[in-house]
Symmetry: C2
Subunit: 544 residues, 2 copies
């Protein structure tokens, strides 16, 4: 009877807040002596990692960091950043990993907007952080990560990361959050407004992400994982937590090159890695003398942009097994996977690559993925033609955007998260992206706001009007392409304008092509970006 | 800042109640045409299963079944019982699967205590249900499962299960619970009191169980699973839900024999199955002419009682890969697993089997497994010698015992679930059961309450005092062994007393051995069961 079934309060014994913190606790207890982290000549066991995490957390606590505080980090994929994925939440604080490719202006904005209380920075990036402080007119406490294998750089902090370890308490209690809805991470993403938005993750979502990923990727126990995905992207696709769950060995890599990846695969017997399609291109285009035969099956999860079928086919030909996935920062990364189907076995390699370039179906932890009409909200027919917007519902959708209730409401209030990506559904239910509704360009796995690039162009005295769209690019997936109306008599050239942009934004954001033309407009004067996107596709086809 | 991070309400888009219902929805959408259920000549796809589940749920709803109602089922492992694992929760009701080996008295108790509103019964068990109604003086609405491959039996219901399907609505909405803490299943277990206790499962736990099992068992996509575990035990170890998650094929089997299992393995390419150690013994002892070579690797999850190392070794010699797990009805089944360790590779087969007979370490979804001193609650040292009680904490621990707040409080209020099993922890952290604190005998995977057997013995006019303990048994794991003081001059014999028991309890519960002796007692007159357990071990050693 209903009242009897409802008579049970949740208790400590039967209701534990879901959190990735549990995962490291278990793995370190069961496999204390297995290699957990490898970086160049360094190797640490799971027991060592847990010990260091406790120490770092206790030191952070001593510095006043606690529940609800933001700890910002600018770091490469070194062991420190991996450890911080546990140490920061262990204090109750929120981990804010910042894209190390960003220019000082945006870093300044993030440090300010995020209410960062402490910044942990690899010395390679101390320059940009110092500049950001200057722009904000306010310095924050800093901890330096001094990596002997890094390029050097000035120490600007009050202590080094190694001091947090050495001065830390190895008995610091291992305590998860009381509430699984508690904030865990804050990840800024380029939005349509040009200003990055802070995506807030909760512990529950990260736990479910870590459980669902091995189920979907058929991860064995003890995978050997090469961390080619930047950990500042969706917390490295939440793989830090998933690989801990499987008691894997995580191999860190500071600078991803084709040669280095092949070498590490051979040296450590890498079984799994992830990366944007640019990583696939990099592998395919590695000079023959730098390619090494794979020691065993190597599985790659790729995401960040739809990979060209030709690149997929070439990567497969090298012996890699590629699974394409789709997701956004707002969904903790991958929530849609191009699940291999038995009925594809008999197709040609090209046909297979074409099908594998579709985005696919929901992950096990994804509750709903649908493509809906933007007006009516009704699902589009599964005809491979009718376009709609991808919408996602599930426990791996963000809490919302930090200090931005309007954007949160716009994204979440319809009962699903609106991705801003236009797609079709094929007869087998697989989703395929067709266009982007948001003005975001994805280049080498990085999101670039076209609005931001337009903003910089408009700061040039000779630019009357500028519109930026994605130009399909074999190497980078997409690059920014600007269409610009100049003042009469201006002597600016494509090169001079690109150079101007370079001074005001991170290198990867600058337009790679500029077309001087009158912009197509609607009757009311609105720029018709779809016309420009079409034009960009034509340019890409001509040049390829 | 804390207040900004806490400013996000849970929304439909980002907070969905965890429930196994989501799992079938996803698998049926992605793999509609793959075989889901196989039973003799019958085969159904995932789309068909979902269609039937909707229909059955709609028919149940029409009969007045809804949230918080109990639906009791007495059925063999046929497709109907699998489907009911989704159809009953889809109405919001609670699935109460009843052990089909129970005698009418206990079935009557369960039907009464559980507040069952409807009973779904395979005609093979209509006799015991009819008798239970008579004992309760009250009949309940009945639906008959008519299995042409079953042994027949009288139809006593107002309709057949097939009518629920045929008359059902294939458009019945697929709607999970609003609250993941909602009751999902009610599973009665033999307790120390002699009266079975009703263990209440919640949706959240079943979902997490389904996600954690593939991670721990390294389940591939599309496993072919033979359902040898009775679905009335912990909902078949929650494998119905886990196998759906992996889009497996579930092969049903009504009567488990060694011959049948070998045949089905060959016929369907079974890759996975589960079973009590009795199933392992059955395989090992299958006559040579009925054994078939395995078509590929077959993994067995075994639980229900510590398997003898010799049986483990013999099963392995046949080519099966066995993983021992440990759990209780109160923990949804398995929460501890004997994880294989790389350092065991070089040991002899006997040494390996010995180590694999340990219970092991926590599953991925288990938060804490510990062995603690019963007095102080402190963890025992990892010395392989000091005994304590196994305690478990996690999201796959029951809500509590139905209508039994005292027992619920006793089991859960210390912050962990007290298992009642005595164990040691080895130097590597692995748990090994040493004794049972509760008076439960586990025979062929079935729990038998020694108190219940003692109660029946005490009803015999010549029995002065009786105590029942577990007698180790090669075939069944354990069997009940009674120590009895008879009235002076009584002419009762072991055989006559066993025959008396047989009249008053299910066959598997009766003592297999009776020893006439004066019972050892403490100064205060309490029977010293530990002395009797020791004696039973001596008897077992002499007879083996």
């Amino acid at each position: 009877m209903k009242e009897h079934y409802e008579a049970f309060p949740k208790q400590e014994a039967n209701h534990v807040a879901l959190s990735p913190l549990s995962i490291l606790e278990r793995t370190a207890a069961i496999f204390p002596d297995r290699p957990a982290l490898v970086y160049n000549d360094l190797s640490r066991t799971w027991a060592e990692v847990q010990d260091r995490v406790r120490r770092v957390a206790s030191s952070l606590k001593k510095k006043g960091i606690g529940t609800g505080d933001t700890v910002s980090v600018l770091a490469a994929n070194t062991p420190e950043l991996f450890e911080l994925h546990y140490a920061v939440p262990l204090t109750g604080a929120v981990l804010n990993t910042i894209n190390i490719r960003l220019e000082a202006e945006t870093v300044a904005y993030i440090l300010d907007h995020s209410d960062a209380k402490l910044v942990i920075v690899d010395t390679a990036f101390s320059g940009v952080v110092g500049e950001a402080f200057r722009l904000n007119g306010k310095a924050l406490p800093v901890i330096d990560i001094v990596d002997p294998d890094g390029p050097g750089g000035e120490q600007i902090g009050e202590a080094a990361y190694s001091d947090l370890v050495e001065g830390g308490d190895p008995e610091f209690p291992w305590q998860g959050p009381e509430d699984e809805w508690q904030a865990l991470a804050l990840n800024y993403t380029s939005g349509t407004s040009g200003r990055p938005k802070g995506v807030v993750y909760h512990h529950r979502g990260a736990y479910i992400m870590a459980m669902g990923t091995p189920v979907a990727w058929e991860l064995p126990r003890h995978p050997v994982y090469l961390y080619t995905v930047p950990m500042f992207h969706c917390n490295g696709w939440c793989h830090a937590w998933a690989m801990t769950l499987m008691a894997g060995t995580v191999v860190c890599i500071r600078q991803v090159t084709g040669k280095a990846v092949f070498e590490l695969i051979g040296k450590h017997g890498i079984t799994h890695l992830g990366g944007a399609p640019i990583v696939l291109s990099m592998l395919v285009n590695t000079p023959d003398q730098d390619q090494k035969p794979l020691p065993g099956p190597v599985k790659i999860m790729t995401a960040g942009a739809p990979p060209p079928a030709a690149v997929l086919a070439a990567t497969k030909a090298l012996g890699f097994e590629v699974m394409q996935v789709y997701g956004l920062t707002e969904t903790y990364g991958h929530v849609v996977q191009c699940l291999w189907r038995e009925e594809w076995e008999d197709l040609t390699a090209d046909e297979q690559a074409e099908l594998q370039s579709w985005q696919g179906v929901g992950f096990p932890m994804t509750e709903t993925v649908d493509v809906v009409d933007r007006e009516t909200g009704a699902p589009v027919p599964w005809d491979g033609e009718t376009q709609g917007e991808i919408v996602i519902r599930g426990n791996t959708v963000m809490k919302g955007y930090y200090k931005n209730p309007e954007a949160t409401s716009a994204a979440l209030s319809a009962g699903t998260f609106k991705s801003g990506d236009a797609a079709v559904r094929h007869a087998n239910g697989y989703v395929q992206i067709r266009d982007r509704l948001k003005d975001v360009i994805i280049s080498g796995g990085e999101n670039i706001s076209s609005v931001e690039v337009e903003g910089v162009l408009h700061r040039h005295p000779d630019v009357v009007l500028a519109a930026v769209v994605a130009l399909p690019d074999e190497q980078w997936g997409e690059v920014p392409c600007a269409f610009v109306e100049l003042k009469e008599g201006s002597e600016e050239t494509e090169d001079s304008l690109i150079a101007f942009c370079r001074q005001h934004m991170a290198g990867f954001k600058r337009p790679k092509k500029i077309v001087f033309t009158e912009l197509p407009k609607t009757a009311t004067g609105k720029i018709q970006k779809f016309v420009l996107r079409e034009e960009a596709r034509t340019i890409a086809n001509q040049s390829s």
